[in-house]
Symmetry: C2
């Protein structure tokens, strides 16, 4: 208990703000904020508890990784009743790939909340995925499997897991659109900005411009998903021209 | 639904018995027995559902493996607050090793309940661990994470996960006892038998004889644990002689 209190006290000045930040990232309220504090604590701070155990997010990555694997496994098992073990294993490793986790952590801007003694620009690209895994671990510790599962659905499975895209059967609408713009020598531009509004979850909005004219808008819980949605809308709006 | 009904009908003659068997293995009542039927269905039967998807336990191993990894990760995370990621990963791989899972499946006699077109003696040793993983997958599908976690604690973590033994710091009492018997040219014999009694969970009892005399008895939820318990008792009873 006193360890938790120490952490809380040491950051009490911005405690309220951090609570709100975490609530918005999670889409629900944390119970014990100390788990999230820890999930954003870099080992460069050299924090230790009373027994001398390091307090930072590294161990939490291990836990978060295990939970991600379990929840995604269960989703794929149910979503693809015809997939055998090898298929399921391959699909899972695409969903929880390092690259993908980095993307997720980056979208959520997790690095903005890290506590560290190292300059943020010194971190490699994997910091984003590591923070994302640690965050999942913190949710498990704080709220248990059910909330952890809910977060993974909101942040990973719903916005990103499209079986046909994972199988490479469907190329993305964004790719189709970019291809067309390049062929037709059109300028294009995706303007993405945070637009959470009154939503529980952080949201992103995107404006897709072709030759400086907005041709489609979309909103979603990830940048990628928002871009894909806007591209799909533009694709159908422009279909006569594209095909 | 009709798939489930088909499976149930096709085995209705021994349905009641199978339900009891599963209840005893789990330590709680299954809700939807079809998941367990499937967890014991070998692909040699070539069962398929209406969409042509194979019905057998292979896919369920994938799910069970993921749940085992998650629950054991969470246990180790909490049990060893000083262990870093590398340590936790190594410890987990010891707990969920193929050898260990085979032992667990064998202790529970899972192969006795398999439905197959292949003679049981044709299976390799891994069948035991595969059935164990599939069973864990079935529990997750039937009763969710909480019961799955409970089963893994009852069957894997409580009887087997001793951090000091995993780290190789403590040699087992069974080893100490066997060593002593061999040195002293004593005959020894562990007689293990099922002794579930009125317990919810399947239990094993063991009688440890040295030179044909019973020197210790013990009872536990796994053969290994019962043997270790009896050895520990014998070890302390004989301590003056041994040291």
């Amino acid at each position: 208990m006193s360890v938790i209190r120490n952490i809380l006290n040491s950051r009490s000045s911005k405690g309220g703000n951090f609570f709100n930040v975490v609530t918005q990232i999670l889409g629900f309220k944390p119970k014990n904020i100390a788990h999230y504090k820890r999930a954003f604590t870099h080992r460069s701070l050299n924090r230790k508890d009373e027994e001398g155990n390091a307090i930072n997010f590294e161990r939490m990555e291990f836990l978060g990784d295990a939970m991600l694997s379990a929840v995604v496994a269960s989703h794929l098992f149910k979503a693809v009743p015809g997939g055998n073990e090898g298929y399921l294993t391959k699909m899972r490793s695409k969903v929880v790939s390092r690259k993908h986790l980095n993307e997720l952590g980056k979208d959520l801007g997790l690095i903005d909340h890290i506590e560290t003694n190292i300059a943020k620009d010194q971190f490699g690209v994997n910091i984003h995925g590591n923070l994302f895994e640690a965050l999942v671990g913190a949710i498990y510790l704080d709220r248990g499997y059910k909330y952890c599962r809910r977060f993974i659905y909101d942040r990973v499975i719903d916005p990103y897991v499209d079986i046909e895209q994972l199988e490479g059967k469907v190329i993305s609408y964004k790719s189709l659109l970019i291809e067309w713009c390049q062929k037709e020598k059109k300028e294009f531009d995706y303007e993405v900005y945070e637009d959470t509004g009154n939503d529980e979850l952080k949201h992103f909005a995107v404006k897709l411009r072709i030759d400086k004219r907005v041709v489609a808008k979309a909103r979603a819980t990830s940048k990628k998903k928002a871009e894909e949605k806007a591209s799909k809308r533009a694709y159908y709006a422009l279909q006569n021209k594209i095909q």
